[in-house]
């Protein structure tokens, strides 16, 4: 797999920070849970539709098989998506503000200028607490991107980001 195809940005190209490796299980889990569930539902629906046409197999077995098969496929896709999401999430803090780059197939690079930060949230679920991770949410006054989040950051990084961006708010208000 190629590392990263994005053209380097002219400002500072080297300091895009990846997420810590211990965040990977959380991404895998997050991706897998949703995709398994939706795979299961899809399997149920398809099996129920199919069971009216196929008489050779008993209905219950067909439904179970459908759910199992699709849930498994969903889980596999979910794991793969989670892996990609983890690998292609980067963040950067520079003089201008916070930048977050996410996705590979669908690339989104969001910048929140430091002067536009309204307030910050640091969220930590039970899994994140065990692995010293945190999700940082940066709020702006905007409409569509009113909340920009960086999931599963290293706790120290997250606190550093929060403090640095937060200090700016104090300075602006003086």
């Amino acid at each position: 797999m190629e590392p990263l195809e994005l053209a380097p940005s002219p400002a500072a190209d080297t300091d895009w920070n990846p997420l810590p490796p211990r965040a990977r299980p959380l991404f895998l889990l997050g991706g897998a849970i949703w995709m398994t569930l939706s795979g299961g539902v899809a399997g149920l629906v398809l099996a129920l539709l199919g069971s009216s046409r196929i008489d050779a197999i008993p209905r219950t077995a067909l439904v179970m098989a459908g759910i199992g098969l699709f849930a498994l496929a969903g889980a596999a896709i979910g794991l793969w998506l989670g892996h990609k999401a983890h690998r292609y999430t980067f963040w950067r803090l520079d003089g201008e503000g916070l930048a977050v780059r996410r996705g590979r197939l669908w690339q989104r690079e969001t910048r929140v200028p430091v002067t536009r930060v309204q307030h910050l949230d640091l969220k930590r679920g039970p899994w994140q607490r065990r692995r010293a991770l945190a999700t940082l949410v940066v709020h702006t006054a905007g409409t569509a991107h009113g909340a920009v989040s960086v999931p599963n950051l290293d706790l120290e990084d997250a606190e550093h980001l929060r403090d640095t961006l937060g200090r700016q708010i104090d300075r602006d208000d003086d």
């Binding site: 003089g95 669908w106 969001t110 910048r111 002067t115």
Partner: protein, 504 residues
């Protein structure tokens, strides 16, 4: 209403809130409750048609309680002015004291419906940025008191904001729409259609489905009977159908004009120092005012009908509470005006923006292909479906493609963006055109998006976010930019934003 503890300075006491609402205010609060209450009641009684007893009417007992609550509210509500802030006290058992600095108030709305006008009173709403509810809602004040409060907020808010420019405090009308223009607005806008759609939806919603079906069946039978009696040919039928359609369309347009007159009659946009005030309405009157620099983004629209009448319309976004009804926020700066007047208004309101002198740039030629692509895919899908049903005749659908391509080309030719020293602007559309722009100061987050298709063509989309963007407003985004150009723009804008602190 809750207390905002951090906003309350120590020296403010409950005694400072020494003004009362209008003595008749209980009546208006009650009327409002009843309105919210009586419409569902009527719907249930009229459309429910259950017939057994009148148990739906038990709810009326609640109205008595509401009158009591309204009276209680009148007795416990006081407001007053301390320095540059408004103090509102409410409640007796659970007391709250709210202090609202004038400089924080983004929008002041005065509303007078017919009943209000009869009593010479008005409803006042004070809104700050964001939030779910207005900062203060006064139901109701004597009109003179309401206007005095508005003027006070204007003067003091400004003094706190940006120093004095009291010299310009007298009102200068910027735009006044005579009745003829309002009629044009009604003809151009689709208000009538919206109302008809909403009414049809409502009737179906409340179980009136039978009503419509019965009526349709009856009229169909009538028509058939009439037609049988007259022995008409196909031509006559077509003529009748077309006439009927035209009459219906005319009626909807008439409704549009009527609604436009109700909402916009006597539209006057005026400028008091740094504040813009809009006054409008035929039966109910609205008066809204907001500071010029509270405007977050601008939308200039020109549909086909607009062009037919040589008009455009200009709207603005202000960052006020989302929940508040559209009627109340300052939104239409020029509901309908000639292109020249619109440009002059923008130049006047954004003197540093250089709107008319912006240097527009187009996007690469490949954009038309990108616009055409979705149409091509849909057309292929549709053709395949129709062909499987009707055979080869389905291929006729492909004739739509040249038109699609032509449309995409025209659209792509007109896409453009401009980055001035103070303003960033985007224009799009061919049949229906729009310009969307905002001051660079008002931008919030920036986002660069590349879809798989973008990556194939080496392009990117730059999305610029502003506060208070209305759901129906077109997005402020530049599509189909070459990636290097998009990145350069992104870098430039984020540097600019770093330099400029956010000024609400």
């Amino acid at each position: 209403m809750t207390t905002d503890p951090e906003a309350a300075p120590q020296q403010v006491t409950a005694g400072d809130a020494d003004h009362r609402l209008h003595p008749m205010s209980w009546l208006f609060v009650t009327v409002q409750y009843i309105k919210a209450f009586i419409v569902p009641l009527v719907v249930v009684v009229v459309f429910g048609r259950r017939g057994e007893g009148m148990h739906e009417l038990w709810g009326l007992l609640g109205v008595v309680g509401l009158v009591g609550a309204s009276l209680w509210r009148y007795w416990t509500y006081r407001y007053g002015v301390v320095g540059d802030a408004l103090v509102v006290r409410s409640g007796r058992l659970e007391r709250s004291l709210r202090v609202i600095p004038f400089a924080r108030i983004h929008n002041v709305g005065l509303e007078q419906n017919l009943l209000h006008r009869l009593f010479g009173v008005a409803e006042v709403r004070l809104e700050s940025a964001g939030g779910q509810k207005p900062e203060a809602e006064m139901r109701v004040l004597k009109l003179a008191d309401a206007l005095a409060l508005e003027a006070l907020i204007r003067h003091r808010g400004q003094a706190a904001d940006a120093g004095a420019d009291q010299a310009m405090a007298s009102a200068t009308p910027l735009l006044h729409l005579p009745a003829g223009e309002i009629v044009r607005l009604g003809l151009i806008s689709n208000r009538g259609m919206v109302v008809v759609a909403a009414a049809v939806a409502a009737v179906f919603q409340f179980g009136g489905g039978n009503l419509i079906e019965d009526y349709a069946e009856q009229s169909a039978r009538h028509a058939l009977g009439w037609a049988n009696g007259h022995q008409l040919g196909t031509g006559e039928y077509a003529f009748a159908a077309i006439t009927l359609l035209l009459v219906l369309l005319a009626l909807v347009r008439l409704l549009s004009v009527l609604l436009a007159l109700l909402q916009f009659f006597g539209f006057t946009l005026s400028e008091h120092g740094r504040r813009l005030t809009v006054e409008r309405g035929l039966l109910a009157r609205w008066r809204t005012s907001a500071s010029r620099r509270r405007i977050q983004a601008w939308t200039l629209r020109e549909t086909l009908l607009h062009r037919l009448f040589r008009r455009r319309s200009l709207e603005v976004d202000t960052a006020v509470s989302q929940q508040g009804q559209q009627q109340r926020a300052l939104r239409d700066v020029a509901p309908v005006a000639t292109p020249g007047v619109c440009d002059a208004l923008i130049d006047h309101l954004l003197p540093k923006g250089d709107w008319t002198a912006l240097h527009w740039q187009s996007v690469p030629d490949v954009a038309w292909w990108r616009l055409f692509l979705p149409a091509l895919m849909w057309n292929a899908l549709l053709t395949a479906i129709v062909c499987s049903g009707f055979g080869r005749w389905g291929l006729l659908l492909l004739l739509w493609l040249p038109w699609s391509a032509f449309k995409a080309r025209q659209h792509a030719r007109r896409i453009g963006y401009a980055l001035g020293s103070e303003l960033v602007a985007v224009r799009e559309g061919w049949w229906s055109r729009h310009w969307r722009f905002a001051e660079i100061d008002k931008l919030q987050a920036l986002q660069l998006v590349r879809s798989p298709v973008d990556r194939h063509f080496g392009t990117a989309t730059l999305r610029l976010d502003t506060a208070g963007a209305h759901a129906t407003a077109p997005p402020l985004r530049i599509r189909f930019l070459p990636e290097s150009e998009a990145r350069e723009l992104l870098a430039r804008l984020s540097q600019e934003l770093r330099r400029r602190p956010l000024r609400w």
